[in-house]
């Protein structure tokens, strides 16, 4: 709960109202739901199943879940939302994955370990969102096995291949941003040592300009708990 909460809060604070946002399942949905209930009531949530202007009451299990469709402003077709994405009309894409590296490459296909390769469900819309959203926010727990030196498989290509004008990686410790293709720590939760938040793969990235951000407020935590499960 604490990890998801901190990732969701740091992400929600980046989402402005009246922005159109392509949302993935999991923590991306939690962050978007939180922002909508706090400072961004007109945040336009779009799910790949074709739902536009979603108002999920409970965190959806899949983009086709009843909670995505119920109470939405439009249940369209998949081509409506992917067409808008390709046409450059989606302002922010929210994604998670199994692994990310310092070039922004994402892996949601397979991970290798000493025990062999482990298959994952694959891209879904992630590859399309990563390549085609105008701004990209990647949500990741700050774990060694996730913030890696080199991803085991490039499902969604990173900074150099995307057309996003900005790309961030938000963790439960802080957030990374790119200047050109160089990654640095942009923000850091005030209860975390920036040198720890800046650990990424085998390196500690530049954290000299990391801005401290407040820990989740009582109000943020209270609202989050109204829809997110205790873990």
């Amino acid at each position: 709960m604490n990890t998801s909460l901190r990732v969701a809060v740091a992400t929600a604070r980046l989402l402005r109202t009246r922005v159109t946002c392509f949302v993935g399942i999991g923590v991306p949905s939690l962050a978007a739901m939180l922002a909508k209930r706090l400072h961004a009531p007109e945040l336009n949530l779009i799910y790949e199943s074709g739902v536009i202007g979603a108002h999920p009451a409970t965190p959806p299990l899949s983009t086709g879940s009843p909670s995505v469709a119920a109470g939405a402003e439009m249940v369209g077709r998949m081509i409506d939302v992917f067409g808008a994405l390709q046409d450059g009309r989606i302002e922010v894409g929210l994604l998670s994955a199994a692994q990310v590296d310092r070039t922004g490459n994402l892996n949601s296909t397979l991970v290798s370990s000493a025990k062999g390769q482990r298959r994952l469900p694959g891209s879904g819309g992630a590859l399309d969102i990563a390549l085609l959203a105008n701004e990209l926010i990647i949500l990741m727990p700050h774990e060694k096995r996730r913030l890696v030196e080199k991803v085991d498989f490039v499902t969604s290509p990173g900074r150099a291949a995307t057309r996003a004008h900005s790309q961030r990686i938000v963790t439960d410790l802080g957030s990374f941003a790119f200047s050109e293709s160089v990654i640095s720590l942009e923000t850091c939760y005030e209860d975390v040592d920036p040198a720890v938040a800046a650990q990424f793969g085998n390196a500690v990235v530049d954290h000299s300009n990391a801005k401290p951000i407040p820990v989740p407020t009582e109000e943020e935590i209270r609202i989050f708990k109204t829809f997110a499960d205790e873990e």
């Binding site: 899949s62 086709g64 009843p66 469709a69 077709r77 998949m78 081509i79 296909t109 891209s123 590859l127």
Partner: protein, 297 residues
């Protein structure tokens, strides 16, 4: 001419070994009853395609019906992996063409438009496109910019579940459709199950709800709960517990084989399968919050 057929006859007449099948539904209306009948009739060497595939694919793979899948995503939504799929892939029994959801959607759209490919801006980079025969780089003849050409896909038959249909095969569905319309349009033939067969007047009173016209449909069967354990907006909710239990018993190949034998192969048909479930559960799932009166129109 009436297009109404019993489920078993519909599958016997319209699905052959080796067919490429588009599987409709997205979250809701996953055609489990048709899939179970395909397993019961022991079809082999099928290719299954759709954007995001759920546990119906896994059941059909476990039953030995499937040779290849074409998908953008395959798993147990919100829960995790498809275990029979993972085993079949590791053993080399199953062929996988994996891309992204938008890519599969575009393949189907091109198929439905009767053209060999469509240009797109996705799939420009990454590891997926490196080994994807259905995507090739192309120069736009108008702007000279590089685009990706993605090849049309024309399935032999689409299998779908809908809320209601009439005897002429007109299919009405509402709620989340995903890419079901595009998949149906691309397919040479369409077969469907419906919660209800209604009078043509009911269909014609609300023609905007028809998403597949009868002239494209080969056959339709009335099968209440034909999308169970997925949901059908206005009729019943999703049985999330079934998906969780499936994740557990499908971890063992033996347990899954046994489950398929007891609940699919050795049963007479779909209503028989439903009887094997606790009656509580279906009642419960039919009363889920999404089957609100507002949703049923």
């Amino acid at each position: 001419m009436s297009k109404i057929l019993a489920l078993d006859r519909m599958v016997a007449e319209h699905i052959a070994d080796g067919d490429t099948i588009f599987v409709g539904g997205f979250g809701q209306n996953v055609p489990f009853a048709i899939g179970a009948e395909v397993i019961r009739q022991k079809r082999r060497n099928l290719t299954l395609c759709r954007t995001g595939a759920d546990i119906l694919f896994d059941l059909m793979i476990a039953a030995g019906a499937v040779q290849k899948v074409i998908v953008g995503w395959i798993g147990n939504p919100g829960i995790g992996l498809n275990h029979a799929f993972t085993r079949a892939l590791a053993s080399g029994e199953l062929e996988l063409e994996e891309s992204s959801n938008f890519s599969v959607l575009l393949r189907l759209m091109a198929g439905g438009l009767g053209i060999p490919f469509v240009p797109t801006r996705t799939l420009t980079d990454g590891d997926i496109v490196k080994s994807l025969p259905s995507a090739q780089q192309l120069q736009c003849p108008f702007t000279n910019e590089p685009v990706i050409a993605i090849q049309a896909l024309k399935p032999d038959v689409a299998i779908v579940h809908v809320q209601r249909a009439d005897r002429f095969g007109n299919l009405q569905s509402w709620g989340v459709l995903g890419e079901t319309a595009e998949g149906v349009t691309a397919s040479r033939k369409v077969i469907a199950t419906a919660e209800e067969i209604v009078e043509p007047e009911v269909i014609r009173a609300n023609p905007g709800r028809t998403f597949v016209p009868g002239w494209r449909v080969a056959a339709v069967a009335e099968v209440p709960l034909g999308a169970y354990p997925s949901y059908c907006q206005g009729y019943y909710g999703r049985d999330d517990d079934f998906y969780r239990q499936y994740d557990q018993f499908s971890r063992s190949a033996d347990e899954l084989t046994c489950w398929i034998k007891n609940n699919v192969t050795d049963t007479v048909g779909w209503p028989d399968f439903l009887k094997t479930l606790e009656s509580d559960r279906i009642r419960l799932s039919t009363q889920a919050p999404n089957s609100s009166t507002a949703a049923r129109q």
